[in-house]
């Protein structure tokens, strides 16, 4: 008989093994799932996980997809470490895209890159403002940020829909719900000659470095960690709880806003209704898969980007349903949470009490 027994101390090793285990279990379940659906499991998994990154073009696409997820996830990790549950990266991303686009469209003929800087800053500020609403409500009225940020996601989505169907719609666009393409000055330069990977990915990596410094070296990061692990201890030590709440929400909101504005000024090049296929939600999974640690999140965001790419490719090549991408995301989070039990508990073999008694005789 196997029994779960609490460990004396949380296992450091399992903290790292658990995500790997979750990945393996997801693969196995995926294989079974494909088989049941009537696909060749091997071909399907290959199409899903290997085929998308076989050439430099594929790698480039992977980085394009990973950039917004990474920016959102690294920001969310800061908030989650402080026990502030920002579920609103999606809305903050959309607001960044929307406001950034509105600014970009004011300069239809700009060639200057200073326009781009202005656009990026306005996107970041929009994300911060959107998260700031939740921060205000939480610090002023003790409103649960999980609820407010989720609700703000829907408001942001509807504002975006309104803008592309109304004030920001391209007058020369044959009534398609899209804005005019941005000018050269308001478009992100690409990093490499070929491929679509743009400097947004570089910005994301810089964000990872800054956040790494914040959480592991600075006293501010330490205060956030204490607040997240033990609110009463933070209060006892006199850490400024409200300021820290504001700060983590502004950081995560700002980074999500940056992700949004980089999407519209980078790979998309205009404002469209579906800026994000749920990057803000995927980032929640990525943040946990990466153990809220900057390096872990970097790796996890690449994996998540791969699932997006693989889902699309499998859809095209094998005709699998589109929901498969979401299913894989869900399975990954599910298995991760399940495997995390092993951080605090261990499996031990318990001999049957009857056999033990016989052995003693």
């Amino acid at each position: 008989m196997i029994k779960l027994q609490p460990r004396r101390e949380p296992s450091e090793l399992m903290v790292y093994i658990s995500p790997i285990l979750a990945g393996i279990l997801t693969l196995m379940t995926g294989a079974i799932l494909f088989a049941v659906l009537g696909y060749n499991s091997f071909t399907a998994l290959y199409t899903f996980l290997v085929a998308p990154i076989q050439d430099s073009q594929g790698i480039s696409e992977l980085l394009v997809k990973a950039s917004p997820i990474l920016m959102c996830a690294i920001g969310l990790a800061v908030a989650y470490r402080a026990n502030v549950w920002n579920i609103g990266a999606e809305g903050q991303l959309l607001m960044g895209a929307l406001v950034g686009s509105a600014v970009a469209l004011q300069f239809p003929d700009s060639e200057s890159k200073s326009t781009l800087i202005l656009v990026l800053i306005s996107g970041v500020l929009a994300g911060m403002a959107w998260a700031g609403i939740a921060a205000f409500l939480k610090t002023k009225f003790n409103t649960n940020e999980i609820l407010t940020t989720i609700m703000l996601n829907y408001i942001a989505l509807n504002l975006l829909q309104y803008a592309v169907h109304g004030p920001l719609k391209d007058p020369d666009g044959y009534s398609f719900p899209e804005s005019a393409p941005f000018s050269a000055g308001a478009t992100l330069p690409t990093l490499l000659e070929d491929g679509r990977v743009h400097i947004g990915f570089a910005l994301a990596v810089i964000a990872v470095l800054i956040i790494w410094f914040l959480v592991s070296k600075s006293f501010l990061g330490f205060q956030m960690k204490v607040m997240g692990m033990d609110e009463r201890a933070a209060k006892f030590a006199g850490y400024p709880e409200k300021k820290l709440t504001w700060l983590v929400l502004l950081i995560s909101g700002g980074l999500a806003g940056l992700a949004g504005v980089c999407e519209v000024t980078g790979p998309i090049g205009q404002l469209v209704p579906n800026v994000s296929p749920g990057y803000g939600y995927a980032a929640i999974i990525v943040a946990f898969l990466g153990r809220l640690h900057p390096v872990g999140i970097l790796i996890a965001s690449l994996l998540m980007a791969l699932i997006y790419l693989g889902g699309e490719l499998a859809q095209i090549k094998l005709g699998t349903p589109a929901a498969l991408t979401l299913l894989f995301q869900g399975m990954l989070l599910f298995y991760l949470l399940a495997c995390d039990v092993l951080i605090r508990y261990q499996l031990i073999k318990v001999p049957h009490s009857s056999t033990q008694a016989q052995g003693a005789n």
Binding site: Q5, P6, R7, R8, E9, P10, K217, S218, F219, L220, F222, K225, V226, M229, D230, R232, A233, K235, F236, A237, G238, Y239, P240
Partner: protein, 509 residues
Amino acid sequence: MTATTPRLALQGIRKQYPGTLANDDIHLAIDSGEIHALLGENGAGKSTLMKIIYGVVKPDAGTLSWEGKTIQIKDPAQARSLGIGMVFQHFSLFETLTVSENIALALGDQAGDLKTLPTRIRDISQRYGMALEPDRPVHSLSIGERQRVEIVRCLVQNIKLLILDEPTSVLTPQEVKTLFITLRQLASEGCSILFISHKLYEVKELCHKATILRHGRVSGECVPSQESTLSMAKMMVGDETPVSNTYEKKQGSEVFLTVTHLNLTSSDPFGTSLKNLSLQVRRGEIVGIAGVAGNGQEELLAALSGEVLLKTADSIRFPDGAVGDLNPAERRKRGMAFVPEDRLGRGAVPDMSLTENGLLTGFLHGLVKGGVVLHGKTKQFAEQIIQDYKVKTPNSSAHAASLSGGNLQKFIIGREILQNPQLLVASHPTWGVDIGAATAIHQALIHLRDAGAAILVISEDTDELFQISDRIGAIFDGQLSPFKPTAQTTIDEVGQWMAGVFNTEEALA
């Protein structure tokens, strides 16, 4: 005499938890009508043993016999049906329900006819001299009265063995006397009582026999009336630990902390509001505040620490000005240090290392530069605390939660004292700490006092306060008694203050 079977007999009880052997080969026998003390320091295995008897925990080995028959107690319901009742240290009562509702809930089917329950409660409480009104809601009861609810709950059933876990720790000296009368009466009627305590003179006064545990094993058995408290203490802690000390009483110099007309309405509906408190603590003295839990200690401590800010900043002053509206970090900058009553989850973050827990409040003392944590110095600070205060831990990266209560408390006290505070406010500094650690903590406080710091200690342990404070007072229902030099008062007088008998005195004066 040999023919009588004991009511309860334990043989070779053993219980292993991950990392600790909580009980090892324990033998214990209680006769009917016997008051039996179970003595031992925290962590000696008393709680585990009680839980085994009450069916909460299953032993790994050993047998338990009840009135001569070997049995297995599966759960507390079975224990209750056998006639075993238990009063826990922390009461499990619903504050919004009445006394009889609480008893009915706790006993379930065993409560019998609910219509007659209030009458039965009233009968029992009168018979045993424990005044109790069945229809009163629990939140309106004092701590002592709440304990009576727990005891009466056990008596409503046909009780044969009553287990009491440190019952006197929440009572005033006068209430303790009343409790002892009740317990003696119960015993004379044939009820066995297992009395868990570490207050030796109480055991000596009340109990017929005692079993002493140390490190999970029986370290001695005795008849308390024939032993000295010192000889029992030696059995509890072993020979190597100094058992008690007396300290010279001192008079302070200039005033450091001044509290004047402090009023504070508690945000907790069942909390205690502070009413017009005034108090001074001088440099070089220890002031003790006695009191039964729930009389405003938490509220006073929160106001002093800065966890609750006051609208009237002037109510709390340090020599350089009013601090009533300053947060804890700002008060620390002005020389205050603070030892809270909760070690884990306030004084220390359970899942953080000792190094990080040193930084928790030590950040003002050169551990942070330009917003960046200096890892070398932070580690050094934690290691200094561990060394100076003899904290038993493998190293400074051990999690706070992995330390025993006494060791963590030494770490927290050390962390606060090493910051050279001019004012130290300590709440229950030795609560749940073994005698060895308690002595070390007392010595550290005395040493800090002699170095010229002002110290305020709030504790439910009156003996401790008499031992270390230079001046003493009590808090009752959010009001402070007069303060007197410890040498000029008695436990009885402080006991009166703890029960609120100072208002009239003051009015007359």
